[in-house]
Symmetry: none
Subunit: 525 residues, 2 copies
């Protein structure tokens, strides 16, 4: 029976301290639901005292019930020389109406004297009386021991006295905070061990920041030393370099150390949850995010790919399915034939390694990549390259011409750019015009407008992402650009690429591939 | 006298395995220069055998000399059952002409049998003979012990035999690779310690990947166990979740553990180097990157800011200046002003903090950043913002209009795009036309063509760099783009920015700023 480790997510509180992070009340409700559905134990939803919007949010929350998670409101100990019930922060903490509260208090005597300007004794009284008041009111109480590690190094006696005051106040959890994020993992291990030994009857928690790039390791080491609650934010959002990243820590605890955290079934929803929270936050999930990133199990090097196919363990530290992610093989000039074969056989199963078409394709690929093409993020354009080479490609339309007109300042029309396009399908021509926000936008609308008449299926298709990368950028405004387009029809998603010195042509090429792929897809289904 | 730790950067080799990472030969040369200028000890520049583009790059490199860094080419041991001199990979490694080489070999018997399909004995012979050949040819040889940690756990005896073969071959460094990225830091510490004990006369290196979010900690622990060479990529680029991030590890080693790495002076250029490399890679440096990110020392919470102002250590784990970064207060207008004052006084020395224009500028800046402007890489555009606000800006020309015409396929003209522009200077109008490779290129030529008549000094001006970044890219072809332009007149270099949903307008804005700055510059000199 492995030890249970409790998860405490602060995305909506400490995560909000991150630069560029801002959530609407609706966003916050969605995030609470996502975290609860995953099986997170505690959700720290905000600081009602410092933020009136949070108070409204807590009111909204009271009309929802969580499947599993305990909601938590965050606040500080009472101000000096008053009773808890007289303190406005404490009052709004109560108003939040959450079953749990987290109260932070000072553990570094330097701060007591220089920042909140009171006596060491009064600070201890502030901690004990505030927690006791919360317990009297039936709350589950987490004590956030601010600057605990730095405080302990400066004055271990006083840091421990602060925890004793919290325990005397009835704290359910003593959470040790590495507020500055600079404590070395072995020091975290050592000091956490002392606390666990000193407080056998109270659960110990850990709260780390990533200022040395080691927040995950710091957290893991605290657990190894006996901590049973891990605080963090789900994708590592947070002030400065962010908080410990729960989407990394959870699988590390469960798959690397065998602790009981979410359990096998919930863990399979880790990736979808991380991507959902990134979407809600409107922040791009780094493709390299451990376990949950789109590249976390992507293989590019030819030799690696060859290896992975021979024995899975040879290049993967865990099975991607355990965290709901999947393995990907990326195309690139350093990929081996082994990968190409796999891709070719998707189109024509009869092709073998010795088939001359394989060498031909390798050559074609090298030439295209030399021209600035890159297929690792445009697998469907690559499939079209293969289809054309195998004579398995149907041209769905011919471009007769397009013209772009751009104008500044705007005359009558609403948009600065317009496009006229003439296409031919089975000898039948159609001209369409469109205006747009820039020439590419106008051309996109005109092209799809012209083709919808011939291919109604295109109605369901839309662009999901559009990226421009300037190659050899020192060639300045005549430089080559690579355009990457992601498209979707609701059921599938595909990626295509175009390269040219003219951004309009590059976009047109990627757009054409996208449309042709969609039509190929429909035929093969 | 603290222990020297050697840095080995693989941004241009293992970093290239990262999804979305692609460097032109020019990019690579710039990165080599940036790393060398910082004082990196070894620069692994590529894999000449697997990539013809790398071989061309190595030829280019031979005409440059490094201030400090040793260049290194990467490759594998010879194939089975042949002599090193008969092996094509070994040949291209020699052709690269670098003073150092890194040779990877198998240390996990499972791989020997299942992946390269040879006998354990032949694999050992492959390692020893390949290294011996390199040593005979005067190379500094790093042995990359692939899968060392997984191999050691499976069969410690064979893993150590592989290192013995490398040592017998004359390896200068035995670099232990956690190829799958899944080894727990304490295991890294334990196993590295065994190797250091077993090979007292050979330097030991460490190469980690971030699959568990602990690559930095794994590397630190290996050094604590006696490793003296740290391999990584400068901003953590790399396959899957990336390689150990040198821009984090270097300050951790130097500031947290007191090792001798770059030295105090070089360390101060860490941040600028990281930002430069991110820029060359056209990949945004995460704002939360430890030590070097723009948020790494940014304080948002009111209480935190109050604390930092009372005692620095209270909320910073190191002094930002030691790594060339700086403290930022995101919510404090006052401090925001303090940082702007310097820039304002450059234009108008008489302005003081209390001057209302300062608050006005803070507001303007917030609004522009909200619109997607970003002045870190466009200081001269920011100076123009200040000049306009202070009424110290002269408008050198008025745009009457421009029109862009783009056409595919090409009719008579050589280029797909042409532009007509009409500008007015001191009531005098001029119309010019130009054709170009894409609409931006055409517009650039037309605008400068029209103005040269009025301002001959523009003859000496040319664009040195042009970058496009799509903001909110999920808005697809109507997404906002940020255009960054670097211009030079041979004597000075300046950077300007433009933002719009229309790439042509964004480019026009950046171009206009660039021209106006050049003319301002000439007047003030």
């Amino acid at each position: 029976m492995s030890k249970k480790i409790y998860t405490f997510d602060s995305t909506l509180r400490d995560g909000m301290q991150g630069e560029g992070i801002a959530f609407s009340v609706e966003d916050k409700l969605k995030i609470v639901r996502a975290l609860d559905a995953l099986g997170i134990d505690f959700i720290e939803a905000g600081n009602p005292a410092s933020n009136p919007k949070d108070l409204e949010f807590f009111r909204r929350l009271q009309s929802e019930t969580q499947r599993h998670a305990k909601l938590c409101a965050f606040g500080s100990t009472r101000r000096k020389n008053i009773l808890p019930e007289e303190d406005s922060n404490v009052k709004s903490l109560m108003e939040a109406g959450t079953p749990a509260v987290s109260i932070f208090g000072k553990c570094w005597d330097l701060h007591v004297l220089k920042v909140i300007n009171t006596t060491p004794e009064e600070n201890l009284a502030m901690i004990e009386s505030t927690l006791a008041y919360m317990k009297r009111n039936g709350k589950y109480v987490v004590f956030d021991a601010e600057h605990f590690f730095d405080g302990y190094k400066a004055n271990p006696g006083y840091a421990m006295e602060a925890l004793e005051a919290a325990a005397a106040g009835g704290a359910d959890v003593l959470c040790l905070c590495d507020t500055n994020g600079g404590t070395y993992p072995t020091d975290i291990y050592e000091i956490t061990g002392q606390v666990v030994k000193g407080f056998p009857d109270v659960q110990v928690g850990i709260h780390c920041h990533n200022d040395t790039g080691m927040a995950v390791a710091q957290t893991m080491f605290a657990v190894d030393a006996g901590a049973a609650q891990v605080q963090g934010t789900f994708i590592g959002y947070g002030e400065r370099c962010g908080n410990a990243n729960l989407s990394t820590i959870i699988p590390d605890l469960e798959l690397k150390r065998g602790y009981d955290v979410l359990g096998e079934e919930n863990l399979k929803r880790l990736t979808e949850t991380a991507r959902r929270i990134a979407d809600i936050s409107n922040i791009w999930l780094p493709s390299g995010a451990p376990y949950v990133g789109s590249s976390a199990f992507a293989h590019k090097g030819g030799m690696h790919i060859d290896g992975v196919k021979k024995i899975r363990e040879s290049f993967e530290h865990v099975d991607p399915q355990k965290v709901g992610n999947s393995r990907r093989f990326l195309m690139s000039e350093v990929s081996g034939k082994a990968t190409l074969i796999k891709k070719i056989q998707k189109v024509e199963p009869s092709v073998t390694v010795k088939d001359p078409v394989v060498a031909e394709l390798v050559g074609k690929l090298k030439q295209l990549e030399f021209e600035g093409y890159q297929f690792e993020a445009a697998e469907q354009s690559f499939e079209l390259v293969i289809r054309r080479l195998l004579g398995k490609h149907k041209k769905y339309f011919e471009l007769e011409y397009f013209k772009i007109i751009g104008e500044q300042p705007l005359q009558e029309q609403e948009y600065p750019s317009s496009a006229i396009i003439k296409v031919q399908v089975d000898g039948q021509s159609r001209i369409t015009g469109a205006e747009g926000d820039g020439p590419v936008h106008a051309l996109d609308l005109a092209l799809r407008g012209a083709l919808k008449g011939f291919y109604p299926a295109l109605e369901t298709m839309r662009l999901a992402d559009y990226k421009v990368r300037v190659l050899e950028s020192s060639a300045t405004t005549a430089a080559k650009v690579r355009v990457l387009i992601e498209s979707t029809d609701g059921k599938h998603t595909w990626n295509t690429v175009g390269v040219s010195t003219d951004i309009i042509e590059a976009s047109f090429l990627a757009l054409t591939d996208s449309i042709e792929y969609k039509l190929t897809l429909d035929e093969s289904n």
